[in-house]
């Protein structure tokens, strides 16, 4: 399904937090996002004037959840001036939105419960996957404070880097353990190092893996050619050919 053309104004309807993460909810009745798709988000007022006189461009943010009547929820982590401004927004303030954008996750075959491997803020699109198609969530966080966002999932398994909650170690260790029990396809999103490790595991276990990758984006709709990632077929634009790629295709 295609996105409405142009940038729209959407008032912020929901704001709540999970540890350091912020959930923002806005209505977008005219569109329904697929799991793995994203929006370009900016605040309607005072987008700018932060660190280094930024932000200027909109920011790519995954759809975390699609509620009734087009309610879109996003999960944000503050890492710079753009996410700072978005995280500061209050209910009633305005968002500028373009989307839904990108090529999301493929629907699993009937009866297949995929493994959803998420690291940090990368858990966001997996919430939408689990809502739509189920699946076992395996989530890695820095610490228990960040792991509060595990609440967004049904029956997740959690690991933390510092052992303050769940398994002490990498989420890929949880993944190995699950795959040892049952071979299932993987849907993953997280930092590059995690995605790299997940691909290696998938290769070893000969299971399919779909990875949602990130790249700095200016436009989100294929206009700037700025967001490329290297694949076996050369550079591909993450915003239109991804953000979800078959793990076997990435170079």
């Amino acid at each position: 399904m295609s996105a409405p053309f142009g940038r729209r104004h959407a008032p912020l309807l929901i704001r709540r937090t999970y540890g350091p993460y912020v959930v923002l909810g806005a209505g977008d009745e005219s569109a329904r996002a697929q799991p793995g798709q994203f929006y370009m988000l900016a605040s309607a007022e005072r987008w700018g004037g932060g660190d280094g006189e930024r932000p200027y461009l909109a920011r790519a943010v995954s759809v975390m959840s699609v509620g009734d009547e087009g309610l879109m929820e996003f999960l944000l982590e503050e890492v710079g001036p753009g996410t700072k401004r978005l995280c500061e927004l209050e209910v009633g303030e305005g968002l500028l939105i373009v989307g839904p954008l990108g090529h999301g996750f493929d629907e699993p075959d009937a009866g297949v419960e995929p493994l959803l491997v998420g690291g940090g803020i990368g858990i966001a699109p997996l919430v939408a996957v689990q809502e739509a198609w189920g699946g076992q969530a395996l989530l890695g966080f820095r610490d228990a404070e960040h792991a509060k966002a595990a609440e967004l999932f049904t029956d997740p398994l959690v690991s933390t880097d510092d052992g303050s909650r769940g398994h002490h170690g990498f989420v890929t260790e949880l993944l190995e353990a699950e795959l040892a029990k049952q071979s299932r396809p993987i849907y993953a999103c997280g930092p590059p190092a995690m995605l790299h490790a997940v691909r290696a595991v998938a290769r070893t276990h000969e299971v399919d893996c779909e990875l949602a990758v990130e790249a700095p984006m200016a436009c989100g709709f294929g206009a700037c050619y700025g967001c490329v990632v290297a694949t076996v077929d050369g550079y591909r634009r993450v915003c239109v050919d991804g953000p979800v790629f078959d793990g076997a295709v990435l170079a």
Partner: protein, 291 residues
């Protein structure tokens, strides 16, 4: 209706080359894109004779009220353009097509012009002269005499309207524009991006995979206005003004400075329908002034 190099355009707002991929946008936005097409003419991304992969990522850096890009002109090359893109564009575009081209030698440019000569879909050609000269490292269009010589060489190869897209990285852009006119250009367009650099946080050298890049967006708006004004005072051919245009007021400034058309680049990234909004704001401005 606006007349520009023999083209009849609905309004004076077009896209800046490399800042709107209509075929990708159609995949994203579907038919609505064409029903509400934001530009009065469509300018393609730069096409080169041979395919180019473009620069390694990262290709983008956000700066104060601006964007630095180092895309590296990825494109499938002339042949793929003729075989794949042109038929798709011919079928889809509701407005005239301007094909932007670049070559590192006059022969290369000539070869591209020859090939486009037979293509009815191509209403006009924009020649990007911001390509670095291999010998000097400067843009080939930075020197007025060199630019005139290049045009004398390639101008006879095309019967289509020829717009020369000047480089802003020069001491005297008006002299370059005059050189382009003397060489037979039907119009000039400017400004292309300003040479800029971003370093990776933490002291590990250039951030962009391509090394340095080009600055666009509001940061360069007033530099663009100065260059467009100088050029429009010097040449008699029409001028396409661009650089940081984000509103009807910005577009109006460029028209007031002497431009015939205005192109929108980076602002389309923030708002895909920026072209229509800017054309509408311009129009409202006219109406307001008339009242």
């Amino acid at each position: 209706m606006i007349e520009f190099c023999g083209l009849k355009l609905r309004h004076p707002v077009i896209n800046a080359s490399g800042c709107f991929d209509v075929l990708a946008a159609a995949r994203v936005f579907g038919d609505e894109l064409f029903e509400q097409f934001p530009f009065a003419a469509y300018v393609s991304k730069t096409i080169t004779l041979r395919a180019r992969a473009g620069n390694p990522p990262p290709r983008l850096w956000e700066s104060a009220a601006g964007l630095i890009n180092s895309i590296g002109l990825p494109n499938g090359g002339l042949r793929a353009y003729l075989e794949t893109d042109l038929p798709a564009l011919a079928a889809a575009l509701p407005v005239p097509l301007i094909t932007n081209v670049m070559g590192s030698t006059p022969e290369e440019v000539g070869e591209i012009l020859d090939a486009l000569e037979a293509e009815a879909t191509v209403a006009a050609i924009e020649l990007n002269v911001s390509c670095p000269n291999v010998a000097t490292g400067l843009d080939i269009g930075a020197d007025p005499d060199g630019l005139e010589a290049l045009l004398h060489h390639v101008r006879p190869r095309s019967s289509k309207p020829l717009i020369v897209k000047l480089t802003p990285n020069t001491a005297d852009v008006a002299a370059c524009a005059a050189g382009a006119q003397a060489g037979g250009a039907d119009a000039v367009s400017l400004i292309n991006t300003l040479r800029a650099l971003a370093l990776a946080p933490g002291g590990s050298g250039a951030w962009l995979g391509g090394g340095s890049g080009g600055l666009s967006g509001p940061a360069i708006r007033t530099v663009a206005l100065a260059q467009v004004s100088r050029v429009a005072q010097r040449v008699t051919i029409p001028v396409v003004g661009m650089g940081g245009v984000a509103s009807g007021a910005d577009a109006r400034d460029l028209l007031d400075a002497g431009a015939t058309l205005v192109a929108v680049g980076t602002e389309s990234f923030r708002d895909p329908a920026a072209g229509s909004r800017i054309a509408r704001e311009l129009d409202d401005g006219f109406t307001q002034i008339a009242h």
